[in-house]
């Protein structure tokens, strides 16, 4: 939980003396994996980070995209895994709080939250169930209180998260381009700490998050207070409107240590501060504790003497504390005093720039045989199998989760959660579509193809709303990077994401790396989570009610790539096989064609095929519209495959298009023109979900019964 021996020697040689205890605290926080990205930073540079819409400014914690007409969208993703695994309510809540402040730091108002939650097997493991329930409550309690809608996300359960939790939170902000904070500072400017008081919570939190989870170090866990955060948001936005902020940074991992050193580093200045001026929760806090505390709901603002008065008036209105803790200097040093006594005085570049590592990597042994398929037991009743999958925790409706999140506040939510991507209306008449996706089951089998798959799936989801992908957020979650096999999986995933981003010209606008996600039982499966933002210039495709005799066209080929599928893992309890791969040119062609048919107003609804395959995707369309559908399996696009493959393969780049039959001709000619692989595979009507192979009935389920199971099984499980 502190500096390693070689790092201590390095620090000593750089500063030419023994560090003080406060200096050790500061450097240990800033050089931790969590804050310094020392294992990953060298490699992250491979991702494309620029593009025509990307606005790059120094010192931003969130990505900024120009959405036209003088408006910008900001976005960021963070996780709060270690704390959530110990205290799920507080861990998840502070996870929301942290990423919201990153959005606020750029000077934009947070307008949406997404959460990606992962736990162990909640069917068997009661602790996993407890973690799940409380993490959901934590996200709800914090986001709802702030009045920022949680409009989407994903929940997944896998044995690899036993005794652990992944809580990822992404946030989106919106504002005027001219209101973006242009971070700058000059000598004599004041350094102000605004918001909640500094207490003894979250001490050493970033180091805690940079190690395997073996102890329940509760003092390393932060305590959430969304009410204070709400007041900070309003106060900061008022201060922004009055142009009182020269530079701003939120206090997150590493507390004051990191906020001070990173701000000074980004602005190329020094900062002199007095811990005595920090408003604290307890009177007897040691400087080391004040510098290391990760108490939440705090912002660091740089302003000048004249503007300070106005800033203080705003803070007084909201009854939030605001202390001048120091000033900007020109010596590029971080100088921490208590009254007149110096506790730390370090060159900024030493603190803020940990030596980056180039860790060894090696292809894991398990991958040699992972693609071998075992002989599966024969399925005699596919209706039963589909019902089992639809009621499984990973596939069942997540309405129990998003029903606890206020997803309407802010009155922007055009497409609500529960579908593919969610859509927000923006003030310039355009629409923003967003989705996050992960797939650790596939990433375990093939870290590269699995990561690409997550990226493509998130793109597919926004495409289904009529949006063109304009930016990506990546959150790379792995085990201990010092294990060469784990580091290899990290690099493979990163390379895959880079290739896709470059080929599709979707810039990475922000991200996060979370390593050491391990418990004594071992590392998690590689879990990259990808967020994609899409822009809709005219009108989103709001799903319309599908009715009797509407048609269903399927785009994209179904392939024999079952590795990591719900069918293999949930039905057959088999981890292995070949995982789906994305053919870039097909993928692009299909995306473009779907957007074109949406633009031409030919569709009622589009849904992508992903987890659970074709059978689940068709069922979801039927259950949402409370209408039956008959699918002919012998005409599914792609090579000839066994029935179980056709039903449950999770091949990428596939879409289901529902439309009025009068549009069939236009649709077919457009798809033919684009040389897309497609087939008219079924018709809607009646009250049954039916799959047939020639004349043979394969699946025959009543929509109402299926819907009831799908809607209630997660809730029933949680309450059982």
């Amino acid at each position: 939980m502190s500096l390693e021996t070689h790092e201590l020697l390095e620090l000593k040689s750089k500063i030419g003396r023994n560090p003080t205890s406060t200096e050790l605290q500061i450097v240990a926080a800033e050089w931790s994996e969590h804050c310094s990205y020392k294992s990953s930073k060298k490699h992250l540079k491979m991702l494309p980070m620029t593009g025509p819409l990307v606005i790059n400014e120094k010192g931003y914690d969130s990505g900024v995209l120009d959405v036209g007409d003088g408006y910008v969208v900001t976005a960021h993703i963070e996780s709060h895994n270690h704390p959530s695994a110990v205290e799920p309510f507080g861990g998840a809540a502070t996870g929301v709080g942290g990423v919201i402040r990153d959005i606020l730091s750029a000077g934009t108002r947070p307008i949406a939250i997404f959460d990606g939650l992962r736990f162990g097997d909640i069917e068997k493991d009661l602790q996993a169930r407890w973690l799940f329930k409380n993490a959901v409550s934590g996200v709800a309690a914090y986001g709802n209180c702030l009045g920022i809608p949680t409009i989407g996300g994903e929940v997944e359960f896998d044995n690899c998260y036993q005794n652990y939790a992944l809580v990822d939170v992404a946030a989106i902000g919106f504002g005027k381009k001219k209101n973006l904070i242009k971070n700058h500072a000059k000598k004599g400017d004041l350094v102000v700490l605004l918001g909640g008081s500094t207490g003894r919570d979250g001490i050493g939190g970033s180091q805690f998050a940079s190690d395997s989870l073996e102890t329940e170090d509760r003092s390393a866990i932060q305590i959430p207070d969304p009410f204070i955060e709400k007041l900070i948001i309003e106060a900061v936005l008022e201060a922004r409107n009055e142009k009182l902020i020269h530079a701003m940074k939120d206090l997150g991992g590493g507390g004051l240590s990191c906020a001070i050193s990173e701000t000074a580093d980004a602005l190329d200045v020094g900062i002199k501060m007095d811990v005595q001026k920090v408003h604290t929760r307890e009177s007897d806090m040691h400087p080391d504790e004040i510098m290391a505390s990760e108490s939440q709901e705090r912002m660091l603002i740089i302003t000048d003497k004249i503007k300070l008065k106005k800033l203080e008036t705003i803070c007084k209105k909201f009854h939030i504390e605001c202390s001048v803790i120091g000033s900007v200097t020109s010596d590029n040093k971080m100088h921490v005093k208590k009254n007149e006594k110096t506790f730390a005085n370090l060159p900024i570049d030493v603190v803020a720039n940990a030596t980056l590592l180039d860790l060894p990597s090696k292809k894991p042994e398990y991958l040699k045989t992972i693609e071998n398929e075992k002989k599966l037991k024969i399925i005699s009743d596919y209706s039963k199998t589909l019902m089992k999958i639809l009621s499984s925790p990973n596939i069942a409706s997540k309405i129990w989760v998003y029903g606890q999140y206020d997803h309407e506040v802010g009155i922007r939510t055009v497409i609500k959660p529960g579908g593919d991507a969610s859509v927000l209306r923006l003030d310039n008449g355009k629409f923003l579509s967003a989705k996050i996706d992960g797939n650790p089951k596939q990433c375990y089998i093939n870290p590269r193809e699995g990561a690409i798959g997550c990226f493509e799936e998130a793109c597919r989801n926004v495409v289904c709303t009529g949006a063109k992908p304009i930016g990506m957020l990546d959150h790379l979650q792995f085990g201990n990077p010092k294990d060469p096999e784990i580091f290899w999986t990290f690099l493979e995933s990163l390379k895959g994401l880079t290739d896709f981003a470059k080929d599709f010209e979707i810039p990475c606008i922000g991200g996060k790396v979370s390593l050491y996600n391990e418990t004594p039982a071992g590392p998690i499966k590689p879990t990259p989570v990808i967020g994609v933002l899409g822009l809709i210039e005219k009108k989103p495709l709001v799903p319309q009610k599908i009715s009797e005799s509407d048609c269903l066209v399927m785009i994209g080929n179904t392939k024999n790539e079952m590795g990591g599928s719900e069918y293999f893992e949930y039905v057959h309890k088999f981890v292995g096989g070949k995982c789906p791969t994305v053919n870039f040119s097909e993928s692009k062609k299909n995306m473009k064609s779907v957007l074109e048919v949406i633009d031409n107003g030919l569709l009622k609804s589009v849904h992508d095929c992903s987890k659970g395959g074709l059978a689940v995707a068709v069922s979801e369309l039927c259950m949402k519209n409370v209408i039956g559908c008959k699918i002919s399996l012998e005409i599914i696009p792609g090579e000839k495959l066994d029935i179980d493959r056709l039903l449950f393969s999770e091949s990428h780049s596939r879409y289901l298009l529902a439309f009025d039959k009068k549009n069939l001709k236009n649709l077919e000619s457009l798809l033919k023109k684009n040389k897309v692989s497609f087939k008219l595979i079924g018709k809607f009507g009646g009250n049954k979900i039916q799959f047939v192979n020639g004349t043979k009935s394969i699946i025959d389920l009543r929509v109402d019964k299926t819907q009831k199971t799908w809607l209630n099984s997660l809730k029933d499980l949680v309450h059982s």
Partner: protein, 226 residues
């Protein structure tokens, strides 16, 4: 005609309400911070939703002691139309302007979903354009939204026609499926569902016209043509 939107620390639907009043219904709306006073000649007051004081102690109970509540009380007595939505309703109840109390939902969870209301009283300034028993598709979003009144108060409410909205089905376990009530005079209305989230077709997946009537009723009451 001027409508005041009261803002408490932690209000979070104030901007949504303001948008609907100004951009959708072309009204002259103005925010009033809870420590300020309300002008005596104001035409209507709305207490929007949110989490005033982070719902500490009990939703609405601290905000009920805000200085501005004294002005709200005086205006209520004068017969000025006053609407409390969600947390605004909780504040009106906690300050004694409206009867009853709001408890945790029966599920003990925060609930965000679309429901249907039935109009039970179409004589208030916020319901005069409705037909009796008219249905309103509208979303709820609350954790403490279960209206509760004991049998004596319930009797009074029925007798004085103070039940303004009921849920068409059991939603959260509220007494008699009550979703909104008014004072005896009928000028103060409190409701848990959010009409400001339902008046624009772009974000209303069902039908935005019924919810719009809540605001159009106010316009009619004030004699403003829209």
């Amino acid at each position: 005609m001027k409508v005041g939107v009261v803002v408490f620390p932690g209000s979070n639907c104030d901007r949504d309400m303001y948008h609907v009043l100004t951009d959708v219904f072309n009204l002259d709306a103005q925010y009033f911070w809870h420590e300020k006073s309300l002008p005596k000649n104001i035409d209507a007051v709305i207490l929007p939703g949110g989490f005033s004081y982070g719902d500490r102690l009990r939703a609405g109970v601290i905000a009920a002691h805000s200085p501005i509540i004294q002005d709200v009380k005086k205006l209520a007595e004068k017969g000025v139309p006053i609407l409390g939505v969600c947390n605004g309703f909780q504040i009106l109840v906690e300050s004694g302007i409206l009867p009853g109390v709001l408890l945790k939902n029966k599920s003990l969870n925060f609930m965000c979903e679309w429901t249907n209301l039935i109009v039970e009283n179409n004589k208030t300034p916020f319901t005069n354009k409705f037909k009796l028993r008219q249905k309103i598709p509208i979303p709820i979003a609350n954790g403490e939204g279960r209206y509760y009144a004991d049998s004596d108060i319930l009797k009074q409410l029925k007798k004085k026609n103070q039940i303004v909205f009921r849920y068409s089905q059991v939603v959260n376990g509220s007494s008699d499926r009550i979703a909104g009530v008014c004072n005896e005079e009928g000028n103060v209305v409190g409701m848990m569902p959010h009409p400001e989230r339902a008046v624009e077709s772009e974000i209303n997946p069902v039908d935005n016209k019924p919810s719009s009537l809540i605001f159009e009723s106010l316009l009619l009451k004030m004699g403003v043509s829209n």
